[in-house]
């Protein structure tokens, strides 16, 4: 039997009053992949995740988690999900370990100490297990949220901006942890506006703009298809005005071109009919997901 898709979203619409935050979004995750939902602030990433975990009621459309409709088979869908919200959460009364025990219980696991200690250890929280959440730093709170999301060994992990406001050291260790989870067969949906994060971790990404899914595909292919390389050439003397489709700047001895990522430097110089002896200096900057992102979103990045 073919494995069910961890997450299948069909024509999801979410309106807040008259405002459409998610505009007919459809995509399907593959088992065991890390899927990145990318987009600037306000694009609708959190709204999509909120609909999956039923924190928000979808206006229309259909969401299935491993074949379970999130609205009709709520319990089964929720039992398969681990959810790390974007905003940090406090807990008034209980210690880190108590919270994890209660949380395990909500997922039907009564004797879960082993798993809890494993996660506390993994997320460097063991020594803080008796502290109240108030006494934790932001980074520790973030890790507690991740531990909470994993107590029941979910099959689909939803990470909403997992590294927002997290220092670089913690960020890399979280990335390693995410990779490790994926190796164990977990399917992961993460939202981010750090493109570096998506580039590093995601097998596929979907790019969201004003509630619409603009582009979806394997991260590497998307970069190739959409990025451009920048070629800077310094010539030994000032040239007269050059006309070229890819020229973006000409200032004195400096020329700057933006070309598709499959176009070579040789081609460009041939195009220009430039005497090689004139070229003093040449540098190339490869495109990144950031550029892909920009080329899709235009000037709409806040």
């Amino acid at each position: 039997m073919e494995k069910k898709s961890p997450l299948k979203i069909e024509n999801l619409v979410k309106k807040y009053g008259a405002f459409t935050a998610v505009d007919s979004v459809s995509f399907e995750m593959k088992p065991g992949e890390i899927f990145g939902l990318l987009g600037p602030n306000g694009a609708g990433k959190t709204s999509i995740i909120s609909c999956i975990v039923t924190l928000q009621e979808q206006t229309s459309g259909r969401i299935e988690v491993f074949g379970h409709d999130c609205q009709k088979e709520t319990k089964l869908a929720k039992a398969a999900i681990g959810f790390v919200p974007q905003e940090l959460i406090n807990h008034g009364y209980f210690s880190v370990e108590e919270i994890l025990h209660f949380h395990s219980g909500y997922y039907g696991r009564s004797n879960n100490t082993e798993r809890i200690h494993y996660l506390l250890d993994k997320l460097a929280l063991f020594e803080h297990k008796d502290k109240k959440v108030k006494a934790l730093s932001g980074g520790m709170k973030r890790r507690l949220l991740i531990a909470k999301a994993l107590v029941h060994e979910p099959e689909l992990l939803l990470l909403d901006e997992p590294t927002a406001g997290v220092d670089i050291e913690l960020r890399t260790s979280l990335w390693d942890f995410v990779e490790e989870l994926r190796k164990d067969g977990l399917s992961i949906l993460l939202t981010t506006h750090y493109l570096e994060e998506a580039e590093e971790l995601c097998d596929r990404v979907g790019i969201l703009q004003r509630g619409q899914l603009k582009k979806i595909g394997p991260t590497a292919e998307l970069i190739k298809e959409l990025t451009q390389r920048e070629i800077m050439i310094k010539v030994s003397r000032e040239l007269e005005s050059i006309q070229h489709a890819h020229l973006i700047e000409q200032e004195g001895q400096h020329l700057k071109f933006r070309v598709p990522s499959d176009k070579g430097v040789g081609d460009l110089i041939n195009d220009l009919g430039l005497d090689l002896n004139l070229v003093m200096d040449l540098s190339i900057k490869e495109g990144s997901l950031e550029d892909a992102f920009l080329s899709i979103l235009g000037g709409d990045v806040q």
Binding site: T74, K78, E87, I89, N90, Y106, Y107, H152
Partner: protein, 265 residues
Amino acid sequence: MKKTSDLTWTPFFSLYKRELNRFLKVIFQTVFTPLITASLYLLIFGVSLGKSITLSSGLSYLSFLIPGLVMMSVLNNSFQNSSSSVVSGKFSGDLEDLRVVPLSVSQILWAMSIGGLTRGFMVGSITFFVGQVFHYVVIGELLSVEQPLVLLFFLIIGGLSFAQLGIAVAFWAKTFDQMSAVGAFVLTPLIYLGGVFFSIESLHPFWKSLSYFNPMLYFINGVRYGLLGQSDVEPWMAAGISLLALCGFYFLARFVLKKGHYSRW
């Protein structure tokens, strides 16, 4: 191999345990403060003022007061427990957890209301115990419970009702102030006017007939009947209306848990 999970009882008991532990952690505030309040009421109203009050039924005022205070403790504390659980969950953001985990609306509703009832019961028992001490000292004998099952029935209905009302009000409230305003301006007056401290027989006919619209009247008089074997309201009528009130609060809480927002303030 993954462990199999029971999604029926384990989640329910976990939430119930959390509701219980939440007030046991701050036991001084949640249990002992009401204890002192009840003692003060008994001392001031029951003992000092009570001497100059004679009831038509021939009961001592202290005996009359004890069931009223017991039910007041149960109602207040059941309400407090569920409402402060929801409100603090909104404040810290962990109310969202309840929506995200595989707990159904019914599981949340019953875990919270039985949690509230438990606290109500504990404080009610303490109030009863203190009442008995006063009764013994002042009157020279303990108050005997006339109808234990009737008493239990009304305590349970009252506790569950108010715990469920607590859920509904806490979901509705947008601030702490709104929350405490409901307590101060709606519930406390209704409980007082429901006959904790006096018999509605002693009221002006206008106020008396108005009192019949106050559901607390039936809760309180039901408990009074259970303890003393006599009350202002027919026990069957009290039972019927109390059950009706419970249904009302139940559906209100259910609606709010289904449609309400679990997001933080």
